[in-house]
């Protein structure tokens, strides 16, 4: 009789395990790793105390993957300006890793649409003129920004691209830029 109960318990536990597994598999989306941490640092020359955040930027290494580099950003007075600073930092590149961005590309503005959890990144018009073409180049460019932004800012779930303040259909005739892009963390690799 005791054994019968034990088997019943095993059965029920197994059932719960299957249910938990199904729920886990359905909700298994990659996401940002850490909350941004604010650090206080004093500038030696002025004695001014700045709030800094440590961000993990990913740049292209060999092959398709991006590898991390740590940077710090001074937190601006207007918290919303942090996104533009972050994109500027991405545009400034890395000494020995690739930032897949045409030269002279500038970011005009960023807007965070809180209800849609979308960061709008508006690039200068020179982007279209200097974009080299090719599906690979478009994917490299788009996921360089989308993955980096969404990885570092938990509140941003997707990124929408504008050029010269306007929507564009594609960068070079391939990927649909009228849609917002969710991150694809398969491009990222921790070293």
């Amino acid at each position: 009789m005791k054994r019968k109960w034990m088997w019943t318990l095993v059965g029920v536990a197994a059932l719960f395990f299957v249910i938990a597994l199904v729920i886990f598999l359905k909700s298994n989306q990659p996401g940002p790793s850490d909350e941004l941490q604010i650090i206080q640092k004093m500038t030696a020359e002025t004695g001014e105390v700045n709030e800094l955040i440590r961000v993990k930027l990913f740049f292209y290494a060999d092959g398709w993957t991006m590898v991390p580099r740590w940077r710090e950003i001074v937190v601006p007075q207007n918290r919303e300006d942090i996104y533009k600073k972050f994109v500027d930092l991405l545009l400034s590149g890395d000494s020995d890793r690739l930032a897949p961005v045409p030269p002279d590309t500038k970011v005009r503005a960023t807007y965070f649409l809180r209800p849609q959890e979308t960061l709008v990144v508006d690039f200068s018009e020179s982007l279209l003129a200097s974009f080299p073409g090719g599906t690979a180049a478009e994917l490299e460019f788009i996921y360089f920004f989308v993955d980096n932004i969404c990885y570092n800012f938990n509140e941003v779930k997707k990124v929408k691209f504008l050029v010269g303040g306007n929507e564009v259909r594609t960068l070079a005739g391939h990927l649909d830029l009228e849609k917002s892009f969710f991150p694809d963390y398969s491009y990222l690799r921790d070293e």
Partner: protein, 380 residues
């Protein structure tokens, strides 16, 4: 021991049966017909009965229906959709505003979908209906209507040479242009398909002219092509990137809400998207027509990529997914092929050689032929 095993099995089985089946209902107006899709989170048994203005689907399990954002005002033929669960059986009823006929009814896998294409019933001439009685013993008219029409064998293929005109596409270091290479491969491929398979081949351009992405998709849709092959040459910021790859549409990379909405409503593209060339065409274009063909597109991509690997002897970059604008709006299996990289020196050299272009066309042809054989085998 056996009894215990049986007990656990029964427990699992009953859990699987009792777990509600999630059923997502979608409907799109395609102009000539309305497509109704019932998608389950797993396969399910079903029974269909219909009358002139109603289709009923009975599913012998408890279903959790998700009607989402179907907007009936966008569906001229559909009056209302109702669903209920009665005594452990799920009932879906679709009511129509006018008499309809089921043109096609078929099942698709991964995810499991039951698809109905329904069209307004052509009104018979009054004298016929009035004077011709049903022959005795011919059976109920409805049974004939329910019989699914067979899928059509592939007879039309649309080739889409990327870029053209002022849109140069990628440009190689030696000023070799993507738009010229794609046209050269497309012309070769067209000849191969026509001469060896005897199929009708339409192209989105046959000369150096700029064609919008919307127009390319609408040409394929208007001509009722059953396969869409977009030919491109790649370029990358990374100079070492080389090789061929084949893409089909990805849904996960874009905004799921927008995708869902577009997928469900299948609304027509706004007029502002039309170009001067579009004006000449009656646009048959949907934002996400490709949604229903992803599995077939994936298989087509695999066949073509395997052949490219074999014949081109370039680096295999594999089958990939991305939200391509031109593919999303085609209502047929559709792929985009990147033959090689203009940004890579060795690939660029090869792209200048006619034998390489011949091989590229031959490889794509082989993949297409294999897909056609597979597709047609499903019809038997």
């Amino acid at each position: 021991m056996r009894v215990r095993l049986l007990f656990v099995c029964v427990l699992f089985l009953s859990a699987a049966i009792l777990w509600p089946l999630t059923l997502d209902i979608r409907a799109f107006d395609h102009g000539t017909h309305t497509r109704i899709v019932l998608e389950g989170d797993r396969s399910f048994a079903f029974r269909i009965s219909s009358s002139e203005t109603k289709i009923e689907v009975k599913i012998p399990v408890v279903g959790d229906f998700r009607q989402g954002q179907i907007q009936l005002q966008n569906l001229p033929l559909v009056d209302r959709i109702s669903h209920e669960v009665v005594s452990g059986e799920s009932l879906l009823a679709i009511f129509f505003k006018a008499p309809i006929e089921i043109q096609r009814n078929f099942v698709m896998e991964n995810p499991y979908r039951v698809v109905f294409d329904v069209a307004r019933l052509a009104t018979p001439a009054p004298e016929n209906t009035a004077q011709t009685p049903s022959p005795p013993g011919s059976g109920p008219v409805q049974e004939q209507k329910n019989e699914p029409a067979p899928l059509k064998p592939i007879d039309t293929i649309c080739l889409d040479p990327g870029h053209g005109g002022e849109d140069l596409g990628a440009v190689g270091k030696t000023k070799i242009l993507e738009k010229n290479i794609t046209l050269a491969i497309s012309n070769r491929l067209k000849r191969l398909i026509e001469s060896r398979l005897g199929l009708r081949v339409i192209t989105t351009r046959d000369r150096d002219v700029e064609v919008s992405l919307n127009t390319r998709a609408s040409i394929a849709n208007n001509q009722q092509a059953q396969m869409f092959i977009s030919i491109h040459v790649n370029s990358s910021f990374r100079r070492q990137a080389r090789g061929s790859e084949t893409y089909f549409v990805s849904l996960k990379a874009t905004d799921p809400e927008a995708l869902e909405l577009a997928r469900k409503e299948n609304e027509a593209a706004p007029e502002t998207e039309a170009t001067a060339t579009d004006d000449d065409l009656k646009l048959i274009l949907w934002n996400l027509a490709q949604t229903e063909y992803i599995r077939e597109s994936s298989r087509l991509a695999e066949y073509i990529q395997n052949e490219l690997n074999e014949l081109l002897d370039t680096r295999n970059r594999g089958v990939k997914q991305a939200p391509f604008r031109v593919l999303m709006r085609t209502a047929m299996p559709a792929v985009l092929i990147e033959v090689a990289f203009l940004s890579n020196e060795s690939d660029q050299r090869r792209l200048r050689d006619d034998p390489f272009l011949d091989n590229a066309a031959q490889a794509i042809y082989n993949g297409v032929a294999k897909f056609i054989a597979y597709y047609n085998s499903l019809l038997q």
